[in-house]
């Protein structure tokens, strides 16, 4: 564990003196290794280590804590600061329905998250409608229908059609059904697929969602910054969802995405069922990343 490693690296610094660039160099190497092993992006780690060094150098080593504990506390505080605040606030409409658009790479957990979001809103007295804008993946529409049925949430689909039209018509359908929220499930796509990214921009421009979320797999490695950044540039989404966090991934992608895009992480996926959704807690995420 990191604290243990730092304790042994810094054991000759106990009880006196200041932290200097020289005497913490070894510790910074250990911290860098821990963050890279946790899948935090290489450049994000570089900047982060610099900020830890800036905050540590000159600090007096107190008698009451070990230097290792001091550095870990600085690292933990800096991580929490960088990871941002805890919020599940979703933008909503002055006049219903509110429209939430769910986007991300293939297989990240979007369709499952749409069901979780519908269940989350239902438990708060809202009346959601699910819209099937994935017209490509075999049985994608059936998948959303099955999920909707199990939650008693209506599903709007037009089979294989134009996602822009489907999204637009789903909103009219929501008004007819007196649903106050429309959740748009979109097909997984690569950030470098120009045609598919343009489709998302067209849906955004035509259907005008109030909230756009980027759903990312919690096991994503160094590539997290590329995908998150490109989706942010094209869509300027409002928040991030990190899925499959019920495994043992350290989840460094959370730090990478937050550092590079500045977007808040709003939800965590913690399982396959519709209730497996949690609010993001930066302090818990920080200790998870540090291992």
């Amino acid at each position: 564990d990191l604290t243990g490693k730092l304790e042994s690296v810094l054991r000759n610094l106990r009880g006196y003196g200041k932290l200097t660039e020289k005497n913490i160099a070894e510790s910074l190497k250990e911290i860098r290794k821990a963050l890279l092993e946790a899948d935090v992006n290489y450049k994000v780690v570089k900047d982060f280590i610099q900020s830890v060094q800036d905050r540590s150098v000159g600090e007096n080593v107190l008698k009451s804590v070990t230097p290792g504990q001091m550095i870990v506390k600085i690292v933990n505080d800096e991580l929490i600061k960088l990871l941002g605040t805890s919020t599940t606030q979703l933008k909503s409409a002055g006049i219903p329905p509110s429209i939430i658009m769910i986007t991300g790479l293939q297989g990240s957990g979007k369709t499952t998250f749409c069901a979780k979001l519908a269940s989350f809103l239902q438990s708060r007295g809202r009346k959601p409608l699910l819209a099937a804008l994935d017209v490509y993946r075999p049985a994608a529409i059936q998948q959303l229908r099955v999920l909707g049925e199990s939650l008693k949430v209506p599903v709007y689909d037009e089979g294989i059609g134009d996602p822009v039209k489907i999204g637009f018509n789903a909103v009219s359908d929501a008004r007819r059904k007196l649903c106050d929220t429309v959740i748009l499930d979109t097909a997984g796509r690569l950030h470098i697929d120009e045609q598919m990214m343009r489709e998302l921009v067209n849906v955004k421009n035509r259907v005008r969602p109030h909230e756009i979320l980027f759903v990312a797999d919690g096991m994503t490695g160094q590539d997290a910054v590329n995908t998150a950044k490109e989706f942010a540039e094209k869509l300027d989404y409002d928040g991030v969802v990190l899925t499959k966090m019920d495994g043992d991934t350290r989840g460094g992608a959370a730090l990478s995405i937050r550092a590079v895009t500045g977007k808040p992480i709003k939800f965590i996926g913690t399982g396959e069922k519709a209730d497996a959704i949690e609010q993001f807690h930066p302090d818990r995420m920080a200790s998870r990343i540090l291992g």
């Binding site: 290794k33 890279l36 092993e37 946790a38 899948d39 290489y42 790479l105 293939q106 297989g107 990240s108 957990g109 490509y136 993946r137 075999p138 049985a139 994608a140 059936q142 998948q143 229908r145 099955v146 999920l147 199990s150 690569l190 950030h191 470098i192 797999d217 096991m219 994503t220 490695g221 160094q222 590539d223 997290a224 590329n226 995908t227 499959k244 019920d246 495994g247 043992d248 991934t249 350290r250 460094g252 992608a253 396959e272």
Partner: protein
């Protein structure tokens, strides 16, 4: 790779950044850089091209693999496993297409009875590829589907039986023991089966893929990796760590969402992609 002519600390740092940015991981990157340092001390080279080819060769060596000698007996049974959303079902469509093009008969087993519309997804692929799918209803016992599929493959004398399983996180003990049970059923019904257990890994995954590989080898003797979504910008470098620590090679790669978007793994191309 580097346009440089000599190994110095700056070059090694550049290489380390390339490797780690490609998800090769800290330990394996250190291992590769140490090997390069050692080799450079021993060998004479003049040009930056020679240095480049030394570096590429050193990384490629880690990925070399022997072919799986699949038996001529029928059916050849392929079990497909992996964590959620990596591309198992789609990769099975690609393998079906690959074997059919070779003139082989293929049978599919829809043993993901849990996820919404998982059976329908495989059935749709089966229809597109004119291939039969053994299936039960949703939420039925996956072991029963596997049992029936093995019997069907035997009685039909099918060349290749490919079994689709539900995505499962390797940390879920009950799901991993379900997989062990599926493995035992296959073993009992067909001698030497499963002949290949393909672990499907998403090229976008980071170091967690090593833990995935460890557990899936334990539960289902995974002996091949199908590395998917290499048509994105992720490099999939974690397979170097998996090969080094656990010995299983990549044999197939996925480069898109269609049935023909599959290639046999080429270590040279992979390493060139890593250093792009």
């Amino acid at each position: 790779v580097t346009g440089k002519r000599k190994i110095d600390e700056e070059l090694l740092e550049e290489l380390e950044e390339l490797l780690i940015s490609g998800d090769v991981g800290v330990e394996t990157s250190i291992h590769i850089l140490d090997n390069i340092r050692t080799r450079v001390k021993k060998e004479k080279y003049q040009t930056s091209e020679e240095l480049d080819s030394l570096i590429l060769d050193e990384v490629k060596r880690l990925l070399d693999f022997d072919p799986l000698n699949l038996p001529p007996t029928k059916p050849c049974v392929i079990l497909v496993v992996g964590v959620n959303g990596t591309g198992k079902t789609t990769s099975i469509a690609k393998l079906t297409n690959y074997y059919k093009k070779q003139g082989k008969t293929v049978l599919l087993a829809a043993a993901d009875t849990f996820r919404a519309a998982a059976i329908e997804q495989l059935v749709t692929w089966g229809e597109r590829l004119d291939t039969d799918v053994i299936k039960h209803h949703a939420n039925s016992d996956p072991a029963a589907v596997v049992f029936d599929a093995c019997s069907a493959a035997l009685s039909r004398k099918t060349d290749v039986l490919i079994i689709d399983t539900a995505g499962r996180l390797h940390t879920k003990v009950n799901l991993m023991s379900e997989l062990e049970k599926i493995y035992r059923i296959i073993q009992r019904q067909i001698p030497d089966a499963p002949h290949e257990t393909i672990l499907v890994i998403d090229a976008g995954n980071g170091q967690n893929a090593i833990n995935q590989a460890k557990e899936f080898i334990k539960a289902s003797k995974a002996n091949s990796i199908f590395l998917t979504k290499l048509d994105g910008t992720a490099k999939g470098g974690v397979v170097l760590g998996i090969k080094r620590e656990l010995g299983i090679p990549v044999r197939y790669i996925g480069v898109g969402e269609k049935a023909d978007d599959m290639e046999l793994f080429d270590p040279v191309e992979f390493v060139e992609g890593l250093f792009e």
